[in-house]
Symmetry: C2
Subunit: 352 residues, 2 copies
């Protein structure tokens, strides 16, 4: 019973915090602790009970999915939850997830309110065997989708067309949806680290950046690969080589016990040595699971120590305005001795 | 200059509230007021200035898009915003959108904080001519995508396959993405008002519910249509007829000056008369625009008066557990004399 174990983990954290109950309002956490996948839900967890609050659209679905008692509320969920809080004096809440307004509604219950901060997200960092298998399957699906989509590639396609092709292949392979809006950025636009695909045609000469992920059975994958249309200029080769080296250096650093900051530093050091320190404008990676961005963060200032069973991305990049950008990203699983690179796709620059 | 007008609208609302400045933290509102489309941004609007805060990933994009001064912050945006707040005594904030934790960070600035509630969302309810055109184009794309996807329909496809086909057709037609996870629910599963498509094959006999929407140039569309596989049983015909009548009755009620509750009541009355009152478990519709769900709500208790230029959905439904469900949904534009139904797709039950 995975939900029992997870609830026990949460109860242990609540005991440490001195809370008698917790109100969980973010959907990924609601799903993690009880299995409910609807778009409107709140979970009340006490020492004795687990209660899911949802609305009438989800009466049937909640009954099928949730490892919890179900309360179907007709108005705002906060109001329904608040009415059940009278018996608790110290109540934990998701301060980083709940809106200020919803919290005002909850606080009509006169308990002492304790901030959970990242308590739930930390409980989710180390993945169970079943979760690791789910992430692995999502990563494999994602790589297969890229391969199939690239078979359909034709010079003159728009960025949007290629993104459509990629997401279609994900879906036909069984994904629920893309884990985020697929990025396909050609030429100078590859220098925008999070470009939306547009109507620009992929033709002529230039870098092609593809950042894509899928949700399969609720679990995310994430990968960035680079292609180049036409003969590769020396400057592009240099840029690609630097990012590639940085990515390998960061992966090489991954191991249970190491801080995430040191993984970030490994990538950053290589890019600095190549003169691209200022062109690396984001952090090296992030955890993923039920959400595409989870803890731990793999950034300059993040001191989390990696643990076996964490699933993280390693994705350094360098972006030169007016020229183009390169990012290479794998999903990896932290082990006691290093990591397993889940992403099976070659990292080579695909020359189209 | 649409952003100037919008900012002036916001400033007028701030003046009423007695606020000298507002911190806008929700992305759709940031986009509405300054045009920035990145995934991390906050806007500080005062009587004199409009300042966008974002992170280094978006330096280039913010410069291209935002009708605002741009501050690129290296840490949390709240911290960067908070440092600029010292000169204001009364500051408005998005209480319904900002997290409790982010608000704690902002409140380090010692002003008096005033809740915006739905101020920004209300400013967005009536769409400009350009916005109406954008919604119309999104709706037309969405209908074309359904038509093309249904040409690919084959008995034995899974729900997921058909959803993939639909989203692919949207994307190939130029949509940025689906406006929400496309719902394809067959047979008994059509009784789950917000079912995720699954691996179930669409074969045999039963209702097929398709709820789909696209984002095109940032603007949403939304449509639900029903099909049936095999001979249609009498009970299904009865159910379909009731929902169809309810939808027409609600549309018939739409007109500038009418309350949204009365539009909801028009649909509800018809379904009650057919004995499906309890099977209609959600409200009749919602506004849409830069988000798929916007104000006004078209529900039992919503007293907003419709105004010309509002874009709303009309989507009553009835769901019979263990049997199936029917929902019919159009996107319509409120006019002074009634409404324009934007959705061009026939509402008839498609018999497959």
């Amino acid at each position: 019973m995975p939900f029992n174990e997870r609830i026990e983990g949460l109860r242990a954290a609540l005991a440490k915090l001195g809370a008698e109950a917790a109100v969980i309002t973010s959907l990924p956490n609601v799903r993690y602790f009880c299995g409910f996948t609807g778009s409107n839900g709140a979970l009340l967890v006490s020492g004795q009970s687990v209660t899911l609050f949802t609305d009438p659209r989800y009466t049937i679905q909640a009954g099928l999915e949730a490892a919890a008692q179900v309360v179907v509320a007709k108005g705002p969920l906060e109001t329904a939850v608040e009415k059940k809080l009278g018996v608790y004096r110290r109540i934990a809440f998701e301060n980083g997830r709940i809106s200020f307004r919803s919290m005002v509604a909850l606080q009509k219950a006169k308990g002492e309110w304790l901030a959970l901060d990242d308590t739930c997200e930390k409980l989710r960092m180390v993945k169970s065997g079943a979760e690791q298998a789910a992430i692995r399957a999502s990563v494999e699906l994602n790589s297969a989708a890229l391969e199939e989509a690239m078979r359909q590639f034709q010079v003159g396609m728009t960025e949007t067309d290629l993104a459509a092709e990629i997401e279609y292949r994900m879906r036909r392979a069984g994904a629920e949806k893309a884990a985020f809006a697929t990025i396909v950025a050609f030429g100078k636009r590859s220098a925008l680290p999070h470009a939306h695909p547009g109507a620009a045609k992929i033709s002529g000469r230039g870098l092609l950046l593809i950042d894509m992920g899928a949700f399969l059975n609720g679990y995310a994958s994430d990968m960035t690969r680079m292609a180049h249309l036409g003969t590769v200029p020396a400057q592009t080769r240099k840029l690609f080589k630097a990012v590639h080296e940085a990515q390998l250096a960061a992966i090489d650093r991954v191991r249970a016990g190491v801080t995430t900051a040191s993984v970030d530093a490994a990538a950053r050091k290589v890019l600095e040595a190549h003169g691209y320190g200022k062109a690396f404008v984001h952090s090296t990676g992030h955890g993923l699971g039920l959400e595409i961005h989870e803890l731990p963060r793999i950034g300059k200032k993040d001191k989390t120590r990696l643990e076996a069973g964490m699933a993280i991305t390693i994705e350094p990049g360098a972006y030169l305005e007016g020229f183009g950008g390169v990012r290479i990203e794998d999903t990896v699983l932290v082990t006691t001795t290093g990591c397993e690179i889940l992403t099976p796709t070659s990292k080579s620059l695909m020359v189209l």
